[in-house]
């Protein structure tokens, strides 16, 4: 009897160990295979030129259009969602802190919105655009991505702001600050590193998503000079050019994948550094 019990535990412990190993190995495997395939295609020309002769057929040129386009688009989306997200997150945690039910309802809605697939945002964005007769453009793509990133950013900020004790709010108010001052001066500063993490997280989501910009941002060989022009992005640069039969075009896709992976890794490491500093500098109550 005892032996059977022990065997069962041992058996499952081996399974558990391997499951953990699979997850760790999967990450290394994914990053390794992308780098292995893509690194040889990385060159100075690849990173500093736009494609020549059309991105789908042209054998010459690089992916500068996609790199710059992605940075434009995701920076724009991050800034726009910050302008909506920060006030909302502060509002929930400073002004509405006594209205637990309402705040929980907002959280619930945000969580639901977070769960909505990005293709739905993309399709919706496209429908709105056709209704108003707007063509695919940097601006349309940015707005669509903003909609999709707002819930992510607000919830991430909310998790940070939630941890600020009510005592801090009360003491700031009792010193005569208005609520907005308390929000932007006290809460914002107290949580600054954590909020930066939330912004970086959102930036990572914005730059990586393909489905929401598929029909809203379009694709082009050039770097847009105004917001109403279509824009190339790294995810779509991978997606479109990988399906091409021409090896040189595929190389551009793999190079884009390398660049995208590196951007994601850098944001992830940066946000980890911020959150570590956050833990170090945080005043413990």
């Amino acid at each position: 009897m005892i032996q059977k019990k022990e065997f069962e535990e041992k058996f499952f412990r081996v399974l558990m160990f391997f499951s953990t190993l699979i997850i760790a190995a999967a990450l290394i495997f994914i990053i390794f295979s992308v780098l292995y395939k893509g690194l040889p295609s990385i060159s100075w020309e690849m990173l500093t030129q736009v494609p020549e002769g059309g991105f789908y057929f042209g054998r010459e040129g690089g992916i500068l259009n996609a790199i710059v386009g992605s940075l434009y688009l995701s920076t724009g989306a991050t800034v726009m969602s910050f302008l909506v997200g920060l006030p909302l997150a502060l509002y929930m945690n400073v002004h509405l802190v006594r209205y637990g039910k309402l705040v929980n309802t907002i959280r619930f809605i945000l969580d639901l919105l977070w769960g909505v697939p990005s293709i739905v945002y993309g399709a919706f964005g496209f429908a709105v655009m056709t209704y108003f007769g707007i063509r695919v453009s940097l601006l349309a793509g940015t707005i669509t991505v903003t909609l999709f990133v707002i819930p992510i950013m607000v919830r991430a900020m909310d998790e940070i702001l939630k941890s600020v004790p009510v005592g801090l709010l009360e003491s700031s108010l009792s010193l005569g600050s208005t609520r907005a001052e308390t929000a932007y001066k006290v809460f914002f500063r107290q949580c600054l590193p954590g909020l930066s993490t939330a912004v970086l997280l959102s930036f990572g989501r914005a730059i990586g998503d393909a489905a929401s910009i598929l029909f809203t941002a379009g694709f082009t060989d050039y770097i847009p000079t105004s917001p109403d022009q279509p824009v190339a992005t790294l995810p779509l640069s991978i997606f479109f050019q990988l399906s091409s039969p021409i090896p040189q075009v595929q190389e551009r896709a793999y190079a884009s994948a390398v660049v995208l992976v590196i951007i994601i890794l850098v944001t992830s490491i940066l946000s980890r550094m911020f959150s570590h500093r956050y833990q170090k500098n945080k005043i413990n109550f």
Binding site: A26, V84, L113, I119, A123, F239
Partner: protein
């Protein structure tokens, strides 16, 4: 003195006005988030209504005929593909997540958790299109060259199974994070109680902890499924995109999100096509919403019971 009073009051007026403006903007943001889901539904409904009026909903959902040129839109094939891929992905990811969560919270040394946390976070942050590239580079050839022939089948590798494997890896960090939270939140006194009754560690985990965590596990799986159901690009890249009802794991499929993504370009040239694709997006939205809603409700309810 009078002047000083005036200055103080002017400053106060300025500050209060500033406060009002801030609050006004905050409230606008709040309203925006509150109405966003309704706008989404309204927009999609408005577009797809055209098709719903032309064809009964049951036919749209359960007919296998997909002939856009003839104006016949039956989503059954695509829905079945989506269901296959999603369930299969959960079958792969679910056990791995559960076992790993138990390992990390109950058995593993602290440093393992410290190493695994960034790994899970990075895995969660990798864009879907990168998973797709990995799928094309690794999973598809593996199925086409090894797994398929091993089962005596000659296949391309672009298949339901490839989609499910890629999806499984994608939803693992998502599910795992929730599960770790859930196991961490079980009060240690519960395990102490079980152990002081003579139960061993494994029995305590199996009979008490997992049982206590069950509502959470169910909802984590539900959330994972809804994530898998709506995932687009990665699946689209490896699943094959053949509009047929898949008869086996090695056969290609054509899930709903892939249908939308693949056909948006040409939809404007065919009547009703845009309406049909918008309906597909609406179906996606509703299914995901129901799964999310139910899962989060279970979590909220079980949290209340704990308190």
């Amino acid at each position: 003195m009078n002047r000083a009073v005036m200055r103080v009051s002017r400053i106060r007026v300025g500050r209060l006005l500033q406060d009002k403006l801030h609050v006004f903007w905050m409230q606008i943001c709040l309203v925006l988030v509150f109405i966003l889901p309704f706008i989404l539904v309204a927009g999609m409904l408005y577009k797809s209504l055209l098709l719903i009026e032309a064809q009964p909903l049951t036919e749209l959902l359960f007919s296998k005929t997909w002939k856009p040129m003839a104006g016949r839109f039956g989503f059954y094939t695509f829905i079945i593909s989506s269901v296959w891929v999603t369930i299969l992905a959960l079958l792969i990811a679910g056990p791995i997540c559960l076992l790993t969560a138990i390992h990390l919270t109950q058995y593993a040394k602290r440093w393992v958790l410290r190493v695994m946390h960034p790994i899970i976070d990075i895995l969660a942050g990798i864009p879907s299109v990168i998973y797709g590239v990995w799928g094309i580079l690794v999973v598809v050839p593996f199925i086409g060259n090894y797994l398929g022939p091993f089962f005596g089948k000659s296949v391309s590798g672009y298949s339901i199974l490839a989609g499910a494997i890629v999806l499984a890896i994608m939803i693992i960090p998502f599910i795992l994070n929730i599960l770790i939270e859930i196991f961490k939140n079980i009060p240690p006194e519960l395990s102490e109680a079980s152990m002081s009754l003579g139960a061993g560690k494994w029995q305590t985990i199996k009979l008490v902890q997992v049982k206590k965590a069950l509502p959470g596990i169910v909802s984590a799986f539900g959330l994972g499924m809804s994530r898998a159901f709506g995932e687009t690009i990665a699946v689209l890249m490896v699943v094959g995109n053949v509009a047929q009802i898949p008869k086996g794991l090695f056969q290609p499929g054509y899930p709903l999100p892939a249908l939308i993504a693949n056909n948006y370009g040409e939809m404007l040239s065919i009547p009703m096509y845009d309406s049909a694709l918008m309906l597909a997006a609406l179906i996606l939205f509703v299914v995901v919403l129901i799964f999310n809603f139910a899962s989060r409700l279970i979590i909220v309810k079980s949290e209340k019971q704990l308190a």
